[in-house]
């Protein structure tokens, strides 16, 4: 029997605290579309997406009405596109990307991820073709997102790939200079890329996944923030244990909402349900910020000593609540810290209390890494490669996912304010305290070996 106060607390989470299902992402394997003839391959891709995803948006909208909860984004995550590009040219890569862009629009889906390559141990021709095509692809398409995995805990870090990707990021920035380098916001560089992540820009369908699957990304930073606010208001002297407990209970409810929607979408489409990714994903809206949660916990100035501990505690409590709520938890499942997409984090960078180095420290205890960071347009490839290497090291040596989504803004310098609009938000160009000096290390290239799996202290 439902209790009235339980009903009303759920209604409040949805209506006042921005609880939504951030994304329902359909994973589709396109590996069976491979063909030496570009036209045949592209036609097969278009056909498969239309068949598999043709009803996705309609069903999500129906369930949104049924449960009174917004399903904000409907997305696709394809198997790594590099699998289709062996033996093909950059022109073919662009034709594939345009086909993905157009077909995604035709089925009314927001974004498609998986224009990806996994190069953590080496690069095959199709992967090289994909990486080289990225500046043109990300400039000429709107919905296509890309990710490159350059490191894993088992393989170590492919430094040559990191250097290549760093140079590619600068090329993407130049290719999308008229949009302030926005193309870079559609590329994530990963260590230990998850195979079932539903969030963009890093979503792709991993090799071990089904032919077609539904993964769901929940959100809920606003719900968690309000829960902490209420607790602190009612019990001003509450301990951090109390806050962790409150976050855990809230994460339980948020996760369950996502699983309900995901399972029913999968049921109606006749495809398997995959995972709920219980990441706290902010938007630029006030009241939908992860940074606001840290402030509610007592870190008034984000970036102050103690911030990393707050991030760790929040991340852990979210995981515990989510893991109890569902046996199908996957993806990234942690607190995101995408700077431009979170007004509190963005304001902290603008105010100078939150440095890029502190963000890097925070990324060691949460998902996903240095995310939506804007740096000066004249940042060197060596510096970008160093940033990626540092994040990879955190991921590889701590056996977790880390990523870098960094945007060198052409013509901009530290302190300039940039507004991308919409969900991508705005913020201030930041710089590293010591951006130069590791070029010799980076340029040695090669490979950082996989870490030892024992002697872990």
């Amino acid at each position: 029997m439902l209790r009235t106060d339980d009903i009303l607390s759920t209604v409040r989470m949805i209506q006042e605290e921005n609880l939504d299902v951030r994304t329902v992402t359909m994973g589709i394997s396109l590996n069976d579309c491979a063909d030496r003839r570009v036209a045949t391959m592209v036609d097969a891709v278009r056909r498969k997406i239309r068949v598999k995803a043709g009803s996705l948006v309609r069903i999500c909208d129906e369930l949104s009405t049924r449960y009174g909860i917004p399903v904000v984004n409907k997305r696709l995550a394809i198997s790594a596109a590099s699998n289709l590009l062996d033996g093909h040219t950059q022109e073919a890569a662009l034709r594939l990307a345009v086909a993905l862009d157009e077909t995604t629009e035709a089925v009314h889906v927001d974004l498609v991820g998986g224009f990806s390559a996994l190069v953590h141990k080496g690069i095959v021709p199709g992967e090289m073709t994909l990486i080289n095509s990225l500046p043109e692809v990300l400039a000429k398409t709107r919905r296509v997102c890309s990710s490159i995995n350059v490191a894993t805990t088992k393989a170590g870090i492919n430094v040559d790939a990191v250097k290549l990707v760093a140079e590619t990021i600068l090329a993407i920035s130049r290719a999308t200079a008229d949009a302030r380098g926005f193309g870079c916001a559609k590329l994530v560089v990963f260590a230990n890329i998850p195979e079932d992540n539903p969030f963009m820009a890093g979503a792709y369908l991993g090799e071990g996944e089904p032919d077609c699957v539904i993964n769901v990304g929940v959100s809920g930073p606003g719900v968690v923030k309000r829960a902490v606010d209420r607790l602190v208001h009612d019990h001003p002297a509450c301990s951090l244990d109390d806050i962790a407990e409150e976050v855990k209970h809230t994460a339980f409810r948020v996760t369950r909402t996502g699983e309900l929607i995901g399972r029913e979408v999968a049921l109606r489409l006749g495809v398997p349900f995959g995972v709920v990714d219980l990441s706290l994903a902010p938007t630029p809206r006030v009241g939908d910020s992860v940074g606001e949660i840290y402030q509610a916990m007592g870190v008034r100035s984000i970036g102050a000593p103690g911030t990393t501990a707050a991030v760790a505690m929040l991340n852990d409590a979210v995981k515990k609540g989510g893991a109890f709520a569902s046996s199908s938890v996957g993806g990234l499942s942690g607190a995101f810290i995408p700077v431009t997409e979170d007004h509190a984090l963005s304001s902290a960078v603008t105010a100078g209390t939150l440095s890029l180095e502190k963000l890097e420290a925070m990324s060691s205890v949460c998902s996903v890494g240095l995310d939506m960071i804007m740096v000066p347009g004249d940042t060197s490839a060596e510096t970008l490669a160093g940033v990626i290497l540092d994040e990879c090291a955190i991921g590889v040596f701590n056996k977790k996912t880390t990523g870098v989504r960094i945007i060198p803004v052409p013509g901009a310098k530290a302190g300039d304010f940039i507004d991308f609009g919409g969900l991508f938000g705005s913020g201030t160009i930041a710089n590293f305290v010591s951006p130069h000096g590791a070029g010799e290390f980076v340029n040695r290239g090669g490979h950082i070996p996989a870490p030892i799996q024992s002697l872990v202290n």
């Binding site: 439902l2 209790r3 009235t4 339980d6 009903i7 009303l8 759920t10 209604v11 989470m13 209506q15 009405t65 049924r66 449960y67 009174g68 909860i69 409810r253 369950r256 909402t257 699983e259 309900l260 399972r263 029913e264 049921l267 569902s326 046996s327």
Partner: protein
């Protein structure tokens, strides 16, 4: 013989014990019961299965005798099978906004006109505002989006925000059972 017994009486300790003792002493088995306290008044409805020789007047007299010291309203009637309602699903309706006369009349007229059955209804007064929460059975043939829009338009004129949401969203956020089982249950319903 099955009978339905209702009782409305100012709340005090022991009422449910007294009524169930009377029914049991008459040889009945209680098959269904719902009891609550509204604004200080104890209310109960129960269905009892009595020996075939028992007559309604006997049950009524025993109940009136037992509660003769209270200001009470007692009803005892023969049990009738419930009406056949169309294939439907359980939804929760909420209305939140300024308290005013006529809210219930307006919303129940709206629901009745569409053959929507009200299973439970609660009102929480916190002046100047009021919150209504109803559990309703919505015929599967109705277009839910259209229904929501119509209701929202109607209640908006009274300054009330409304929602109609499938009960499963409340079950999953407040219960711990597996969601997969919940959806299977729905498909078998």
């Amino acid at each position: 013989m099955r009978a339905v017994i209702t009782l409305l009486v100012p709340d005090r300790i022991g009422i449910l014990n007294e009524i169930t003792a009377e029914v049991t002493d008459l040889g009945a088995n209680i098959e269904s019961i719902s009891q609550t306290v509204v604004a200080g008044y104890f209310t109960v409805t129960l269905v009892g299965s009595f020996p075939a020789s028992t007559v309604i007047s006997t049950v009524r007299n025993r109940m009136m005798e037992r509660f003769s010291g209270d200001t009470s309203v007692i009803g005892v009637v023969p049990y009738s099978p419930p009406m056949v309602i169309p294939t439907s699903e359980r939804y929760v309706i909420t209305l939140i906004g300024p308290e005013q006369p006529g809210i219930l009349k307006t919303v129940t007229s709206f629901l009745a006109a569409r053959r929507i059955n009200i299973d439970d209804w609660y009102l929480i007064l916190s002046l100047p505002n009021v919150t209504h929460v109803g559990e309703i059975s919505v015929p599967s043939s109705l277009d839910l989006g259209h229904l929501q829009n119509e209701l929202a338009g109607l209640m908006h004129s009274m300054g009330l925000a409304t929602q109609i949401q499938h009960e499963n969203i409340f079950r999953v956020t407040n219960e711990i059972g597996p969601i997969k089982a919940l959806l299977t249950e729905d498909r078998h319903a």
